[in-house]
Point group: C2
Chain length 371, copies 2
């Protein structure tokens, strides 16, 4: 197992937990201390303009009449991402750009289900400019250029399993999730549907345009945005590092070295190939990947765990290939460094301050925390 | 026309603009001054839990498989509102709760289309705790208990007219909206669709539950939330005042005094009736209503203006009836006090600091700014 954290310094491994704790108990991390913002705001970025041929008559068809709407000669601005940003006083140079996962929005990085501070405020208190994304066709970036149907299907218990809180309705033993029923209620209400067909190219384009706009920064991904994050980094050199929590798909290999698809109970995880010249970009930036707990090494009769068994296995292969070509990928299964009970959402788990401390220490080690 | 602002003091009318300007140039309102937050966060409030009968087998059906999803025995948490709040240091007692209009989200109150500060930051700088709402089935409150289809219809020019920026694609002369094409691009991208059937009872219930949670506060509404705001105030005594920008529908009268529906080019505006005992609640709180510019007194061949002609006429009737029963409703068409060129979005127009100054002065006059 040692290969999982070969990039970590031995001293860090031994002293890791105390260091993390001290990083989190400093004078600026207490909830009673104020957050001092130089600036905050929101904007749309990326997207396209859809046009319908013809002419719009604003007199004849300028009233709102859902049963007789005319589209001729009109436009629709859609497929953008929505961004909310906050810049603290005395900020570090590189902002953190947080990108949510499947079925989620920027809420992932805000207040935790049990009401504590999420990464948005935790990293503001650590003096980082923080950008939160709603990806295209999700949340406040709801305007899509393609139609869709949203089916209000009951599926909370499916996600309870896939997000590794537990099985069915039973929490896993030792899970870092509050047993207050209100916390689970809040967690389920974080889910928000796609308002158009899910299209990762649309998402990647918008995130790349965000980095065109803001310049150099660190991309922080979660789950479904993990693979999209690798692809965004291929497009945009302003992405100077990636922190990825539980990437689940779209691992990008040189086209001659794409591993075989990995079957698991309920599905199959395949990888992507790109020309070596493109792939090389991923060797130029430091990358760290974290996975939580309850991820088995061998196949088990639990689909909620199975998906992550192969994701972790694929991530290991990917780390090895990127590093073989000169890259700097670190893979950290949290239980291996003493953090146990983490779900698929380490950023909002009960120990999220420790998880944030790990991320902060890595950023510092890589020279990404300069002011 | 004097009746429109009979509640305003003569001194204020004469000195209004200088007072507003001075209210906006104080030491805490400059963008270069920091915003000091005691706390910020987000949560879901209200909503229901939908349940499907049967049993969920997390082993058999616990993998994500869109073509074979089982709903049996599962739940869906939906129909909540999503709230993002910020509390400044040394805050005033009563928070401001901002509720967006039709096709919009809390973005309405954030950065303006041309990139300046919106009411979120303006009122934080004036020391108010600020709560922003995405109403149920909109934005980050996307999870609905009922299905829907979102049609990606081109309709920007329709809204350009209804939101009174201009006619077709031509801005009105003197309009308080940036002519930088990027501003209009951002404005159109604020639109975000319903992710479930629009149901004002669901919305009102969630907003009422928000006031149950936070206690006393001032509700600030816009357009479609205007009428919903009156209905929310009937349900919840924690709503201590209402500021309403361009309320468009659902004016609530005593059931014996419901005015006739008002026809306009492209539609008809009807009012609601409630028992007198309920209606009386609206006489117990101070209310101010603002309308912008380009609203004609008489019918015109312009549907984008017509809708607001009858809304303003209905608002006048409503003010008179509420005040007749002892209420305290002030109605301010902005052009009448010297603010010209305002669209349907005074809170983000080029003169939004003056618009905010008016609101602040009114809150102060009504004793709602105490610390």
């Amino acid at each position: 197992m040692k290969t999982f954290y070969w990039k970590l310094k031995t001293g860090f491994l031994i002293l890791g937990i105390p260091l993390i704790l001290s990083a989190c108990s400093g004078s600026k991390s207490s909830m009673s201390e104020p957050i001092v913002l130089k600036e905050q705001g929101s904007f749309a970025v990326g997207g396209i303009v859809k046009e319908s041929p013809g002419t719009f008559d604003p007199i004849e068809h300028g009233a709102f009449n859902p049963s007789d709407q005319r589209t001729e000669g009109q436009t629709l601005h859609g497929d953008h991402a929505f961004v909310f940003y906050q810049k603290p006083e005395n900020a570090r140079k590189l902002p953190l750009v947080f990108w949510h996962g499947y079925g989620q929005s920027m809420k992932t990085w805000q207040t935790t289900p049990d009401g504590r501070e999420g990464f948005q405020s935790i990293f503001l208190r650590k003096d980082f400019p923080v950008y939160l994304i709603d990806q295209p066709r999700r949340g406040k970036a709801g305007r899509s250029t393609e139609s869709t149907t949203i089916t209000a299907s009951t599926d909370d218990q499916l996600w309870f399993g896939i997000f590794r809180l537990g099985l069915g309705t039973e929490f896993y033993s030792g899970v870092q999730f509050s047993k207050d029923p209100k916390a689970l209620d809040q967690f389920f209400r974080q889910i928000t549907p796609d308002t158009g067909p899910l299209n990762i190219n649309v998402n990647i384009e918008a995130v790349s345009e965000l980095f065109d706009k803001i310049g150099s920064g660190v991309l922080v991904t979660h789950s479904h945005s993990g693979g999209q994050g690798w692809l965004a980094a291929l497009k945009n050199n302003n992405i100077k590092a990636i922190v990825s929590y539980e990437p689940g798909s779209n691992f990008v290999f040189p086209e001659s070295e794409v591993p075989e698809a990995m079957p698991y109970l309920g599905g199959e995880l395949s990888a992507r190939g790109v020309p070596m010249a493109e792939f090389k970009r991923l060797t130029e930036i430091p990358i760290i990947i974290y996975y939580g707990d309850y991820i088995p090494e061998k196949p088990v009769q639990n689909p909620g765990k199975e998906q992550w068994r192969v994701a972790l296995a694929m991530a290991r292969k990917w780390r090895d290939v990127v590093n073989e070509y000169g890259g700097d990928v670190t893979l950290v299964p949290l239980p291996e460094i003493g953090l146990e009970g983490n779900t698929h959402f380490p950023m909002s788990d009960l120990n999220n301050k420790e998880v944030a401390g790990l991320m902060y220490n890595w950023l510092k080690e890589k020279g990404l925390t300069k002011k």
